[in-house]
Amino acid sequence: MSSKIQKPLPRVDELHRPFWEAARRHELVLQRCRKCASYRYPAGPTCPECVSDELEWTRVSGRGTVFTWTVFHRAYHPAFADEVPYAVVAVELVEGPRMLTNLLDCLPADIKIGMPVEVVFEDVTEEIRLPKFRPVSR
């Protein structure tokens, strides 16, 4: 038995299945409205802009900038005990929506609002490849 404590995993339900299936191919997809072309995240049943329910999963660039962040100095789940202090970051995608995530290859002290980042997938389990981001030079 591995002594490594498993981090909490997202639940893959019907609504989110296309997101996680794309993630397995290391592709980032978001719902896009067929009527008004706006993107939404997190996933939901309608487009909040025009309240249409005609949404389609669409591959996005995976590029964005750091919108804001916070640093945890305590582990509120044992699986994060070895990682404190660690940052949780909100990335604003070029398509508009913002995603909560972690930054790889970047210490909390080096994070800056507005820094350009790109998506990279962390292989957590066979089913879950978690989208994270890393800094890019632009």
Binding site: P48, T68, T70, F72, Y76, H77, N102, P108, I113, I128
Partner: protein, 378 residues
């Protein structure tokens, strides 16, 4: 027709508060209710309307269950969940109910046992789940930290400036026998306190507690025949940005913009007319943010505004004279409702704002997600 001055607060109920182990949430609701009726000089049997904010640790308790325990058959009742904004939002609903004649005396109550209950440790305030937990995002404080970071980025506000809020409210708490934290602190104490979630330090954050609160709303005509000087509800409003902060256009404009605009419009006054404020302060930095959104200073100048004793007793705008959520006790918006009324009655002893005639209170829920403003006068 405007609801300005069409209702009044006539009774305040408090209970033991802070760390009060071994008590049920229902017992806090009941004690606060009895005490509010006693304070008003009203028989509890005269209560014919009840609105409660559901208890975070025992959400099964309803207005109707509370009525049953007091032997009351209600004409009007509701369990009103507006998160931390409930205390102010419920006051508005009660004002409408008594003005419409749906009930004569509307009791409004809240209880929390988050410090001592089996689901203690503030578990209910630490909710984390779904995809966020996979990234290590736990607790509502972290959402506030993300908003604080944007506030610092957009307007140059600093952690040290936030400390002035905590220092001011602790000073007020030192004058309040009910307050949980009464030892004065300095800016240095604030700056040396540990990170909770950066950029928020321990002294930027409220704790969780046990206790109950209640107040009674009635019509002005009825209010004049009761024991306490009536405190009239002059104006009120609400503003509710999206629940998820990351889905808002901006993180640094709160619901106070709309709730304040509606409330000042109804009251027919401006911020310059306000003598004392009770601003929701689950976290220090949300005080300057709301003050600027309410128009007490220009947008982005809130962190400067709260310096140099301006929000302390004796300053231009005393705020949270009880110590607020940061230093009196964490009972959500019910701390502000009670202190605002107590100030207008002149009941605050060493922390009384001399001659206070108009008070403004706010309550705020989620991660600055729901917002209520109420303006009161004596």
């Amino acid at each position: 027709m405007s609801l300005k001055d069409k209702s009044a607060i006539v009774g305040l109920g408090y209970t033991d508060q802070g760390k009060v182990p071994g008590r049920s949430a229902l017992s806090f609701y009941l004690e606060a209710s009895r005490n509010a009726a006693d304070d008003a000089g009203l028989s509890i049997k005269g209560i014919d309307g009840i609105i409660i904010e559901p208890c975070p640790t025992d959400p099964r308790i309803s207005a109707f269950g509370l009525a049953q325990e007091m032997g009351l058959e209600l004409k009007f009742g509701a369990d009103e969940q507006v998160q931390g904004a409930s205390a102010g939002a419920i006051m508005q609903h009660a004002a409408m109910a008594v003005d419409a004649g749906l009930c004569d005396y509307c009791l409004c109550a809240f209880a929390d046992t988050s410090y001592s209950s089996p689901s203690a440790g503030g578990v209910v305030y630490q909710a984390g789940g779904g995809i966020n937990a996979a990234y290590g995002m736990f607790g509502v404080a972290a959402s506030y930290a993300m908003i604080a970071r944007r506030y610092m980025h957009e307007y140059g506000a600093t952690s040290r400036q936030f400390g002035a809020v905590s220092v001011a409210f602790r000073h007020h708490a030192s004058l309040n026998p009910r307050a949980q934290f009464r030892t004065p602190i300095t800016i240095e104490d604030h700056q040396e306190s540990r990170w909770v979630v950066e950029p928020l330090r321990l002294l930027d954050c409220c704790p969780v507690h046990d206790g109950g609160r209640a107040y009674i709303v009635t019509t002005p005509e009825r209010a004049r025949h009761l024991r306490q000087p009536p405190v009239y509800i002059m104006g009120f409003g609400q503003g509710h940005p999206f629940s998820d902060p990351l889905r808002r256009k901006t993180l640094t404009v709160t619901g106070a913009v709309q709730s304040g605009k509606t409330a000042f419009g109804m009251a027919g006054i401006t911020p310059a007319d306000v003598d004392v404020c009770a601003i929701y302060d689950a976290f220090s930095f949300i005080v300057p943010l709301q003050l600027e959104d309410l128009g007490f200073c220009k947008k982005g100048e809130g962190a400067d505004f709260v310096q140099n004793g301006r929000i302390m007793l004796g300053g231009v705008l005393p705020v949270n004279t009880s110590g607020g959520l940061l230093s009196e006790v964490y009972l959500q918006g019910w701390v502000g409702t009670h202190e605002a009324v107590a100030q207008l009655r002149g009941d605050c002893g060493p922390r009384q704002v001399p001659g206070a005639r108009i008070a403004l209170l706010t309550s705020s829920g989620g991660a600055l997600s729901e917002h209520a403003t109420v303006i009161l006068r004596r």
